[in-house]
C-alpha cells in the first residue's frame, strides 16, 4: 500500500537539542532561585511543575486509548507524538522522587503531632498516611507504565507485521485501560494536590484532572504536529482538515475544562459550607483573585473566542500559537490549585516557580523528542491510515 517510512526530520533532533538547552537554563535558574528562596519554596514549585508536566504524559496516554477505541483521522496523525509522550512515563516516575523527599513540607498530614491535634486529619488517617501514600504512588505508576509499555510494544509490532489482531488487542486494552486510568488519576489528584490541604475535598477533582491532562496533551501534540507538518515527510500528509478536527477537539476540551471548573465553583460558592468555602476564600483575596480572573480570561475566554472561528482551526500558524498558549497557561491552573494553600495571606511568586517548569519542561521535551525520532512519524499499518491520508472536510 505504501512504501513511505515517514522517518523523523532533523527538526526533531533540533527539538531535542533545544530541550536540553532549556533544561540546562531552567536548572541554572532553579539553582539561583533555590539560593534565594530556600528548600520549602523549591518543593512547592516542584510539585506544581511536576503535576503540570506529568499531565502531558498522562493525558497522552488517555487520548491514545480513546483513539484506539474510536478510530478517526484525528488520532492517526497524532498517534506517534502521543505514544512518544507516554514513553516518558518511566522518567516521570523517577522525577516523582523529589516530591517524596519534600513530603514533610508539602503534606501537613505527614506530621504525627499535627494529626494528633486535628480530629479531621485523624479521621482520614487510614488514607492519608505516608506508607499508604507511597504504596499508592508505586501502584499508579505501575499501572500507567504497564499500559503505556504494552500499547507501545504492540504499536511497534503493528508497524512490522501489520497483523490486524493487534488493533483489536490495543482496543481491548484501551477499554479497560481507560477505566483504570480514570480511577488512578482521580486518586493521584487527591494525593498530589487535594491533600495539600487535608481538610478540603471536592468530588469533581478527579474529573477536573482528567480533562486538564487531556487538554495539556492535546495542545502539546497539536503544537508538535504543526511543527512536523512544515517539513518532509509530514508536509504532504497533514492538511487543514486534520487541523480542523484537532482544533474542534481542543475547543471541546477547553469548554469541558471551563464547565467543570465553573461547576465546582458555583456549587461551593452557593452552598457556602465551612468545610469547603475556605478553598475559594483564600483564592479570592490577597492578589490570588487576579490569578483566578486570569484563568477565566486567558485560560478560557481568549483561546475559546479565537477557536470559535472556523478559519482559526484550519490555519496552521494560528492553531500552533493557540496550542502553545494553552500548554503554557495550563501551568497557571495547577499553580492556582496548589500555591494559595502555602501562601494563604497573599500572592507570592519567586524565581523557582518559573524556573522549575522550564527545567522540567526542557527535560520532558528532550526525552520526548528522542522517543519521537525513534519510530516512523505515522503508524504505518494503522487500519485507518489510508483514510486518514485522504481525509478532507469542509
Amino acid at each position: 500500500m505504501t512504501t513511505e517510512t515517514y522517518q523523523a526530520p532533523d527538526s526533531v533532533s533540533g527539538l531535542q537539542t533545544k530541550g536540553i538547552g532549556t533544561a540546562v537554563l531552567g536548572l541554572l535558574l532553579t539553582g539561583a532561585g533555590f539560593a534565594m528562596a530556600g528548600l520549602d519554596r523549591f518543593y512547592e514549585a516542584y510539585l506544581v511543575a511536576y503535576v503540570f508536566w506529568v499531565g502531558v504524559s498522562l493525558g497522552s496516554l488517555a487520548l491514545l486509548m480513546v483513539h484506539h477505541l474510536s478510530g478517526g483521522a484525528w488520532g492517526v496523525v497524532i498517534r506517534r507524538p502521543l505514544e512518544a509522550a507516554t514513553r516518558t512515563l518511566p522518567l516521570m516516575a523517577v522525577l516523582f522522587l523529589p516530591i517524596v523527599a519534600g513530603m514533610g513540607h508539602l503534606y501537613h498530614w505527614t506530621h504525627a503531632d499535627a494529626v494528633a491535634a486535628d480530629p479531621i486529619m485523624q479521621a482520614k488517617e487510614a488514607y492519608l498516611n505516608a506508607p499508604f501514600f507511597l504504596a499508592r504512588q508505586v501502584f499508579y505508576f505501575a499501572c500507567w507504565i504497564v499500559m503505556a509499555t504494552l500499547l507501545n510494544r504492540w504499536s511497534a509490532e503493528q508497524d512490522r507485521t501489520g497483523d490486524p489482531a493487534l488493533a483489536v488487542k490495543m482496543a481491548r486494552l484501551s477499554g479497560g485501560g481507560l477505566l483504570v486510568f480514570g480511577l488512578t488519576v482521580t486518586f493521584a489528584a487527591v494525593d498530589w494536590t487535594m491533600s495539600v490541604n487535608p481538610h478540603w475535598f471536592s468530588t469533581i477533582w478527579g474529573m477536573l484532572y482528567m480533562v486538564g491532562q487531556g487538554l495539556s496533551a492535546l495542545a502539546f501534540v497539536i503544537a508538535v504536529l504543526v511543527m512536523l507538518s512544515t517539513v518532509p515527510p509530514l508536509d504532504r500528509v497533514v492538511n487543514a482538515s486534520h487541523l480542523h478536527d484537532l482544533g474542534k477537539l481542543l475547543f471541546a476540551f477547553l469548554m469541558l475544562w471551563a464547565y467543570l471548573s465553573f461547576s465546582q465553583f458555583i456549587i461551593i460558592y452557593s452552598a457556602n459550607l465551612a468545610e469547603e468555602i475556605p478553598h475559594y476564600l483564600v483564592r479570592s483575596a490577597g492578589g490570588w483573585q487576579w490569578v483566578g480572573w486570569s484563568l477565566v480570561l486567558l485560560h478560557f475566554a481568549l483561546p475559546y473566542g479565537l477557536l470559535l472561528a472556523r478559519d482559526t482551526k484550519r490555519n496552521f500558524n494560528r492553531l500552533r500559537v493557540i496550542a502553545m498558549w494553552v500548554v503554557v497557561i495550563r501551568l497557571l491552573d495547577y499553580y492556582w490549585h496548589v500555591a494559595p494553600e502555602f501562601h494563604t495571606t497573599g500572592l507570592s511568586v519567586t524565581l523557582v516557580d518559573v524556573a522549575l517548569p522550564i527545567a522540567l519542561g526542557g527535560i520532558f521535551v528532550a526525552v520526548f523528542a528522542a522517543q519521537l525520532k525513534g519510530r516512523p512519524l505515522l503508524p504505518l499499518q494503522d487500519p485507518g491510515l489510508a483514510k486518514a491520508l485522504t481525509h478532507h472536510t469542509h
Binding site: P164, G175, T203, S263, I267, A271, P383
Partner: protein, 469 residues
Amino acid sequence: MAQQGHMQAGSTAVLDEPVLGPGQNYETITESVAQIPLSSRTPLGWVFGFLIGLGGLMMLQMAIGWLLLRGVGIWGNNVPVGWAFDIINFVWWIGIGHAGTLISAILLLFKQQWRMSISRFAEAMTIFAVACAALFPLLHTGRPWLAAYWLFPYPNTMGLWPQFRSPLIWDVFAVSTYATVSVVFWIVGLIPDLATMRDRAVSKVKKHVFGVLALGWRGSARHWHRYEVATLILAGLSTPLVLSVHTVVSFDFAVSVLPGWHATIFPPYFVAGAIYSGFAMVLTLAIPIRAAYGLEHLITMKHIDNMAKVMLATALIVGYGYVMEAFFAWYSAAPYERYMMFNRMTGPYGWTYWLLIFVNIGLVQLLWLRSVRYNTKLLFVLSLIFNVGMWLERFVIIVTSLHRDFLPSSWDMYYPTRWDFMMFFGTIGLFLTLFFLFIRFVPMIAMFEVRTLLPEAKVHVDHGPTGGH
C-alpha cells in the same frame, strides 16, 4: 500484498459495518418511511399500543383532576421528604430526553453517520419526555395557573420577581429553553420530509395538510445551503444546551447544603446518567419499532451496537460517580456526610441502593460482550432494566438524603401513595400516546438525510473546459 489485503478485509469487518442495509436506493428509502404515515391502513399492533397509552393518559387526567381538587396532600410527600416522586420523575424524564439531543446534535457535529436514521424519532422522544417532565414541577406548585409569576419574570402587581440566585429558577430557564429549542430543531429537521410527504400524498386532505406544513419547500440549492448552515448552528447550540440542562437539574440538588445532594461531581455525573437512561429508552423504542415496521435495513445492527456502547460508556461514568460519592463521603471526615452514606447503604432504604448498584454497576457490564449487544431481545429487556435502574438512582439520591434530617426528631419514612404511582404511570401513558401518534402521522426517519448515505449521493465537481470559474 496478500497480508495487506487480509488486513484491509479484517479492518473493514471491525470498523466499517454498514449503517444502511444492502440494495437500497433513493426510492426504497423514501417508500419504506413515507408509506407508514401515508397508508390508510392502521396496523392492529398500533391500535393496541395506542390504546394502552390512551388508558395511561386517562389515568393521568384522573390523577391530575383529583390533585387539583384536593391539593398536593394526596401525594406521599411530607416533612422531611418534601420532594419525592414529583422530582424523581421530573429528573428521570428530562434525563431520557437527553439522548435525543445527543443523537441529533452532538453526533452531527462529530459527523457520525449512524445518527441519521435514528435522529428523528429520538428527537420526538426528547420532546415528549420533556413534556412529561415539565408536568411534575408545574403540578407540584399546587396551583399551576398561578405559577406564571413564580416561575417567569412577569411584572405582577405585587412587585415580586423570581429569585435569580436559586437553581430552581435556573431550571425554569434551562428547561423552557431546552423544550423550545428541541421543538424548533425537530420542526426544522422535518421540513424537507414534509415536502416529500406533500408530493407523495394521494388523499387530498393529506396533501393539503402536509402542503401547509412543508411551507412550500422546494429543495433548491440556495434552500439547502441555508438549511445546512442553520442545522449545523442549531446542533452547535444544542450541544452546550443539553449539557447545561442536566447540569442545572443537578444544581437543584448540589447547591444545597444537604449531605447526599451537595457534591461537586453532580453536574458531569448527572449528564452521563441522563445520556445513559436516554439511550436505554431509545433502544426500548427502536428495537420493537424496527421489527414491527420492517425497518431493519435503515436501523441496522450497527446502530443497536453503537447505542449499546454509548450506554456502557456513560454507565461507567455514572458508576465512577457512585464510587466518588462513597469515597468522598468517607474522605470528607464530616460526620453528616459519613452518616448519609452509611444510612444510604445500610438504612431502611438500603435495598434500593444495592439494587441500583447491581443494575448500574453490575448488570451493565454485560454490554462489554458483543454477543449481548447483538441480541436484540436481551438488549430490549436490559434497556428496560436500565431505565428502572436510573429511576432508582434518583429515588436513592432524593429520598435517602431527605428522610434523615439534620434533626433526628424529624426523621421519618417516605411511602408513595396510589396517586404518586398514578401520576408516574400516567405520564408513561402520555408519552406512549404521543409517541404512537408520532409514528402513525409523521415520517419517523429523516429520509433526506438517509439518502445522503447512498454511494450515488456523493458528487465531485469537475470544472470542465467550459467551466473554469
